[in-house]
Structure formats: C-alpha cells, structure tokens
C-alpha cells in the first residue's frame, strides 16, 4: 500500500514537472497578444493607402466610375508641402501627380465636374501674400493651365468650395479690418465678381459651402466675438445673400483644432454638423441641425462626444462620420441613419479626420493614422468587401494562439475577480446581515437550497447598486451579458453548494462570496479581452 502511494506521488511529481516545463516552453514560440482587436462586423480590413501630412485641415476624397480620387497636402515641413492628386482603382494607385510642389498650403478642394472632370482649388501663402488657384483635368491626368482666382497681400484663409456641374463655387475668409466671408464662382475659366457675405465687426471664419439640386448656394461659417463662437448661415438668392441666421453655438476649442462645419444638401433641406462644448462639459460634442427650404432652423441636437464631423457624400439621407475620444486614443465613428454609431477603428492607434462617400448601398470611410515610419497615412475601410470573421475573433480571442489566449484570459480574469470581490466586501457583509435576518423567519428558513442561493444572488445584485456602499463594478456590456453573468454565477454557486448539509452563517458567507467571485469572473471577461 505504502509502495503504491509512493508510485502515485512520483507520477504526480513527474506530471507537475512536465506541466511546469510546458508552461515555460509554450509561451516562447506562440505569444498571444494581451488584447484583441474587435472588428466592426460586416466591414473590411483597414487598408493603408499613402503617406500624407496634417498641414491642411482635411484631405479630400471623391468617387466615380474612374475610381477613388484623393487630394492631399503631403510633406514633412509646413512651408514645403506638395499638393498631390491620386487616383486609386481596385486598391491600386493608378495615378499620382504633384499639382503644386514645395508651397505653404492653407486649404485645398477637390470636386468632380461633368464627365468626371476633376476640379482642384488650393489656397497658398507666399512671401508676396496669399492666393487662390484653380485647375481642372480629366482622366488620365494631362496638365492644364492654372487660373489665379484671387491674389491678395492681406490674409486669406479657410477656403471652402463645392462643384455643381461645370461651376465651381468657392468661399473664403479674408481680413478687411475684420475677417469677412467672401464668395465667387468659376465657370468656363471665367471668374465672377467677388461678393462679400458678412459685414460685421466679429471675426467670420471657417466657411463651408454647398450647392443644392436647384442650384442654390448655402453658406455656413463660424463667427467669433467676445460672447463666444456662433454658427451662422446664409443662402444666395436672386436678391443676394440672405441676412445671416444663427444656427447654434460653436467653440473656440474646435477652431483651434482645425474644426470645420460639415454641410450637405438633401432635397430641399440643408444639414449642418459641427463640434461644440455642451453646457457643463469640457469635451467637444457633435451637434446636428437642419435648415428647411423656407429657411427655418431646427434646434441643434447633440449626437455624441467627438469632433471633425463629415457627411457621407452621395447619400440621400444624412449619414455622419466623426472622430471621438476612445479608451486608447481617438476612434472613428460612423452613424447610419436611424441606428447606433459604429466604431470603425480597431487596436490602439489613434485615428482622426475622417472622410466618407457612398458607392450605391456601400460605404467607404477613410481617415488618418500616425505612421510608424513618420508622417501620417491615409487608410480606408468599407462594407462592400467585409473581412471574414473567424469564430475565435468573434469571441474576442486571438486567432493566432487561441488556447494560449484562453488560458491567459482565464487566469488573469480569475485574479481580477478576486480583487473585485474584495472591493465588494461591504456589499457582501450587508447582504449577509439581511440574509441572516430573513433566516429568522420560519417561512424563509424552510426554503430549499436553490431558493437560498437565488435569494443571496438577488440580494447582492440589488445591494451592489446602492450608492452609499463603496464597491467596484466591472464595465457594463449590455443586458444580455449581464443576465448571463447573474445566471451563471447563481447556477455555479448552486452546483458548488447543493450537497452541503450544514446551513448557518458560514454557509451564507460561502454562498455570497462564491456568487460574487463567479459573477465578477463572468462580468470581467469582455473587459479583460479589451484591456
């Protein structure tokens, strides 16, 4: 008997050594990440396209049958940037043309004219002053003349434009004692007379311009004064520009960060989106308002925390993309009509300055990532070619080393659940006191074990919500997950305790502690996956 015992101990030791050796050897070839990218379901892989800079407030993207066209200011020094046009087709850059090299660019514009003609505008600063230039070309690119729209020794900034057929409408902010918004249009190489839209002693900056299907030009801008920033709107009628109307409050913080008003026309309605600070908040939020055909302005609505909103081009209803602060950096969010916003960005790389267009029922969204090699790269995602999701990835498990990740997740969540249980000691003690009081009543004391466990669970679930008991809670991941956590913790506690005959204070405490550990364990799993 003793010899048999010795053999068992020896075998146990060998197994222990084998397991120990495996735990040392296994991690070296297969190192699972300590977090996992949760992919937006139904969306493609994020594709890097090209390197650019952040010296202009936005890059431009448009789409037609010839492919996706980009206009960006590239370079590493703000006084020596290259205005670059690119045409991408089926994921490959077919054309890459530097339209203007080694200049200081303030703002740029790319629009599509009739027959797929590309219209490009840019505002550059030089030693002699500032100028707005225009050029247009077809596909494939062939160099054509550059038209100087405006050249002025005074400060010109914030160029905005829209292309309607063969007419390019443009607006900018120009210093004339105070900054005023000015407008003109270009048709067949002819520049119309410059019109002054604002005439105030405030600073009128950051214009945005859109032309609706009836050819009406709509303008919105930010007006900064001692009282703060206002979003203002005017439209061009046969009698001239309408009296500017206040749409909502803007933010100096947004202007400092290069924020712009997103402006889009849907039928007879014009929609505006911008970033501003809600009362009592220090974080920029996205505001949305609309203006009817009669010029009625709807009260602005706060959509979500974020900035740099852009309307998705080519849709018949307003759809927005914007950048929003996330747990590990700035994220890109997309708001489909009537649905919840979708986070399109994965991992821990900050993403910013989104642009988007619609190609039929599909959506293409682009944004900037800081490039590891320096500079910034334009990347894109779409829902036309969704990435296949493996079962592991759907569960949030690293598909390259799933079992290692599961093991790591099990151990780390278990350790964390102990910490969270200890942080809920006050809740457990109060629940134990109440439970013991209930046990004084015969009707409650006579109940079966399943009832006792369920009652302990219900007491803990309710008491942990009380604000005056100090406790730490895992993040909330939806009602379904919460229900599952409560159910598995209750079932697990019953499984572990249903054979116990002795009922007393020790049993009560054991039930409460076990339930809390199991609940925290299940509740912490998604939080730990995203950590």
């Amino acid at each position: 008997m003793a010899a048999q015992k010795g053999v068992v101990i020896l075998v146990k030791k060998r197994i222990f050594h084998l397991v120990f050796l495996l735990t040392l050897l296994l991690p070296s070839p297969i190192l699972a990440r300590d977090y996992i990218d949760i992919w937006p379901e139904g969306w493609s892989e994020v594709t890097p396209l090209f390197t650019t800079s952040i010296f202009t407030d936005r890059f431009f993207v448009t789409h037609d049958a010839q492919g996706t066209s980009f206009l960006s200011a590239d370079g590493t020094y703000f006084k020596e940037t290259n205005l670059t046009y690119r045409r991408v087709y089926a994921g490959a850059i077919l054309e890459e043309v530097v339209l203007r090299s080694q200049v200081e660019l303030d703002s740029i514009f790319l629009g599509l004219g009739e027959g797929g003609r590309r219209h490009v505008l840019w505002l550059e600063h030089g030693p002699q002053g500032s100028s707005i230039q225009h050029t247009s070309f077809g596909v494939p690119y062939a160099p054509e003349g550059v038209l100087t729209v405006l050249s002025a020794p005074s400060t010109i900034q914030d160029l905005a434009a829209d292309q309607a057929g063969e007419t390019t409408h443009l607006a900018w902010s120009q210093r004339d004692r105070f900054f005023q918004i000015r407008y003109t249009r270009i048709q067949d190489g002819e520049i119309a007379a410059v019109e002054t839209v604002t005439d105030t002693e405030e600073l009128s900056v950051r214009p945005s311009l859109v032309v609706d299907s009836r050819g009406t030009v709509h303008l919105a801008w930010m007006e900064t004064g001692p009282a703060g920033v206002e979003i203002r709107y005017s439209r061009r009628t046969e009698e001239g520009w309408t009296t500017p109307r206040r749409v909502g409050e803007g933010s100096v913080q947004d202007i400092q960060q290069g924020g712009l008003i997103a402006l889009a026309a849907f039928g007879e309605e014009v929609h505006l989106a911008w970033a501003a600070l809600p009362r009592g908040s220090s974080r920029l939020h996205i505001y949305h308002a609309s203006i009817s055909a009669e010029g009625e302005v709807s009260p602005p609505q706060v959509l979500a925390p974020g900035s740099k909103p852009r309307f998705v081009q080519g849709t018949d209803r307003p759809e927005l993309v914007w950048q929003s602060p996330g747990a590990y950096g700035v994220e890109i969010h997309y708001l489909p009509p009537g649905e919840e916003p979708i986070n399109l960005t994965v991992g821990r790389r900050g993403a910013f300055r989104p642009e988007a267009f619609a190609d039929g029922q599909y959506r293409y969204v682009f944004w900037l990532h800081a490039s590891p090699e320096g500079g910034y790269e334009v990347v894109g995602i779409n829902n036309q070619f969704p990435k296949a999701l493996s079962l592991w990835r759907q569960m949030g498990i690293d598909e390259e080393a799933p079992w290692y990740h599961v093991g790591f997740l099990f151990l780390s969540t278990l350790m964390l659940s102990m910490v969270y249980t200890a942080a809920n000691l006050g809740v457990i003690l109060l629940a134990a006191g109440l439970y013991s009081l209930l046990q004084k009543v015969e009707r409650y004391r006579r109940q079966p074990i399943w009832y006792q466990v369920a009652l302990s669970a219900a007491l803990l679930v309710v008491l942990r919500r009380l604000p005056f008991i100090p406790a730490t809670h895992p993040q909330f991941f939806g009602p379904l997950h919460h229900l599952l956590c409560v159910a598995t913790a209750t079932l697990g506690t019953w499984l572990l305790l249903h054979r116990v005959r002795q009922r007393g204070f020790l049993f009560t405490m054991a039930a409460l502690v076990i339930w809390m550990v199991l609940f925290q364990f299940a509740a912490l799993i998604p939080q730990n996956i995203l950590l």
Partner: protein, 61 residues
C-alpha cells in the same frame, strides 16, 4: 486513483469557472462581441423585481 474531497472541491470550482467562461464566450460567438454601454434603467428595475419576487414567493407557498 481516488480523488480526495479537496480535489473534488477544486475540480468543482474550476468546472464552474470554466463553464461560465465557455458560456460567456459562446454568447459572444452567437450574438457578437458586446460593446460597452450605459446601464439601462430597465435592468435595475428588473433586478429589484427579481428580489421582490423571491421575497414574495415563500409567503404564498
């Protein structure tokens, strides 16, 4: 080999933890990975109703 009651308890605990992890991951596989949200008021009311139901149950048995 006879398993001691201590091992039995440990095996039970590992089973309970492993089982709940499997259930949670299976729910992710079926319903998609959940995203962080605010706690809806309905959930808190549901929890209170659950407690009240359990407290009322012995009174009518």
């Amino acid at each position: 080999m006879r398993i001691k009651p201590g091992w039995k308890a440990l095996a039970g605990a590992v089973l309970a933890l492993g089982g709940s992890m499997a259930l949670v991951l299976a729910s992710f596989a079926l319903a998609g990975f959940p995203f962080k949200t605010e706690i809806p008021a309905l959930v808190i009311w549901g929890e209170c109703a659950f407690l009240l139901l359990l407290l009322a149950l012995p009174l009518f048995r």
